[in-house]
């Protein structure tokens, strides 16, 4: 077993060597521009792009013509939301999203608010799920778009996407989902899930960074999007720019592998995740799972180790790559807004660790991480005045803290 151990697969994934193998010829040998229509170099590149388009479409149950290539999910989210807001401005100006969306969605919505859009940010239930009744009440005759992520990047909670899509369809409102954490990990089908627009990225599914896609439905309903970048009119006019052929080949191959191996991989990763969870729960008291276990990605675990601060915990497991909701580990010095949106309180967010298990993790690694965490948490609790007080029977919520 080699250290450091990578358990941060919601941030990014190691590229699958099979993906790299597929990409390699397209850097030096088949380097053509897919838009060059009059020679062999261009044709070969275009064929490779067409194949990738098909591989992506197959994974999400659609047709190749509905795939628009982008530089990644941040661009896809921007293009989807701004593109719809602009295209359908005459129809309305109201967008519904959720408080736990990725910043690429939230900040895009904030920008649109400055430009005259109205945005509803739905709160979440304690288990991290959308309240469908609240969503229903949020629609107005000005609503043009609902944007709710498929699965959350911190707590792995999977939203009731098909139901949300159905509610949108019944009201003639477009439905966009940021699918990056779910695609290739759990079955995603744009037709049974009633999705109109979906953001995709390669690097979360063992593909390269810097390439992604946007699924844009062509019929029932036919979705139109205003391009956000002017240029050569590539990708049906929705996204100009010379196609990143090697990256696109990588995204396609990553999708094909995920499609083939998903049933076995889901079972294996769920097994590892449950093994980690069970070991930690057996070895430690006062641990708390953040978000629904039932509606959750099989490879995600988000746990709070009460009375221990997240950054000090990460220091103790410095040969394990995970992330924490603690303020001290974030650039903004604010604890995780996702965990806060669940109504958990800052103290639980400060004590949280996100584990993202991936294709290349082994049982041996999981056992090592569990044992190490149990050891470090126990040590830090020896140091924790809060743990001592709780053990003395003091209710921490009744303590008057000298906040600073």
């Amino acid at each position: 077993m080699k250290t450091p151990i990578y358990l941060d697969n919601h941030a990014t994934t190691r590229m699958d060597p099979r993906v790299l193998d597929a990409m390699m010829p397209y850097f030096t040998e088949y380097f053509g521009n897919a838009a060059s229509r009059n020679h062999e170099f261009g044709w070969v590149a275009e064929q490779a792009v067409d194949k990738a388009r098909k591989q992506i479409a197959d994974l999400i149950g659609t047709t190749p013509r509905e795939i628009i290539f982008t530089s990644g999910a941040t661009e896809s989210n921007n293009l989807a939301i701004k593109g719809v807001a602009e295209m359908y401005a005459e129809k309305g100006n109201h967008i519904i999203t959720a408080a736990t969306e990725h910043k690429a969605v939230l900040d895009t919505c904030k920008k649109l608010e400055k430009n005259g859009c109205r945005v509803t940010y739905l709160p979440l239930k304690g288990d991290g799920l959308i309240d469908l009744e609240m969503l229903k009440e949020s629609f107005t005759d000005k609503t043009i778009l609902v944007s709710i992520m498929y699965a959350n990047n911190e707590i792995g909670v999977i939203q009731p996407i098909a139901e949300i899509g159905k509610m949108c369809r019944e009201r003639g409102v477009l439905f966009h989902t940021d699918g990056v954490q779910a695609i290739g990990k759990v079955p995603v089908n744009v037709n049974t899930d009633n999705i109109d627009i979906m953001s995709i990225t390669a690097h979360k599914l063992y593909g390269p960074k810097g390439v992604g896609a946007l699924y844009v439905r062509r019929k029932s309903p036919r979705v139109q999007i205003t391009a956000q970048m002017d240029g050569g009119g590539h990708e049906r006019g929705m996204r100009s720019g010379t196609l990143n052929v090697p990256g696109i080949v990588g995204l396609g191959e990553a999708c094909a592998i995920a499609h083939r191996e998903m049933p076995e991989e889901m079972t294996r990763l769920r097994g590892l995740r449950d093994r980690l969870k069970n070991k930690l729960e057996a070895g430690l008291d006062e641990v708390f799972i953040n978000g629904s276990m039932e509606h959750r990605l099989p490879h995600n675990l988000n746990m709070s180790f009460l009375y221990v601060e997240g950054e000090s915990l990460l220091m103790g497991i410095n040969d394990v790559a995970v992330s924490s909701g603690s303020a001290c580990t974030s650039a903004t010095l604010e604890p995780s807004y996702v965990l806060k949106a669940l109504g958990l309180g800052d103290d639980l967010a400060h004590s949280s660790i996100r584990f993202g298990i991936g294709r290349f993790n082994t049982e041996e690694e999981i056992d090592y991480v569990a044992d190490k965490l149990i050891d470090v948490v126990s040590k830090l609790r020896e140091l924790s005045p809060l743990y001592e007080m709780v053990k003395e029977g003091i209710d921490l919520s009744t303590v008057q803290w000298a906040a600073h």
Binding site: S312, D347, H350, E382, L383, P385, E388, W401, A402, H404
Partner: protein, 139 residues
């Protein structure tokens, strides 16, 4: 994030972890911070009532590695000092000793507050005429 060797040393081998009898007249207890802020420090001193020298100091800290190191260092420095000398310890001394980066300065402030709070508690117990003012700051 890179930690200085001294922070790592205190984190891996914290000095003077534990608790003193907080009901004892010779023990002063300071508890500062709040769980929502991500750090709580408990710092205790036991003072020789004859000569005013701090004979023992203990801490427990919920917080990041720098908070743990700041309070661990504080207990080291407190031992052997008189109460008056202890009041001279400044947060900047802790920053310099541990090479804390700007985002971690609040950890050193918390440690200084904890020292003052512990001494204030001790003096209140002793019925001193001149209790130390503890800065009341609100987050």
């Amino acid at each position: 994030m890179a930690y200085s060797d001294k922070v790592l040393d205190h984190y891996n081998n914290p000095r003077n972890v534990g608790s003193l009898d907080k009901s004892s007249a010779s023990v002063g207890t300071g508890m500062v911070g709040a769980p929502e802020c991500g750090d709580v420090m408990k710092l205790q001193i036991r003072v020789n009532e004859e000569n005013g020298i701090i004979e023992d100091a203990k801490f427990k800290t919920f917080g990041c590695g720098s908070a743990i190191a700041s309070s661990s260092l504080a207990t080291e420095w407190l031992k052997g000092k008189t109460v008056d000398e202890a009041l001279q310890i400044k947060n900047t001394d802790i920053v310099n000793e541990l090479s804390l980066p700007p985002v971690k300065i609040h950890c050193s402030v918390l440690a200084e507050d904890a020292i003052k709070a512990a001494i204030s508690d001790y003096r209140n117990k002793q019925g001193s005429k001149a209790p130390v003012a503890v800065e009341q700051t609100v987050a």
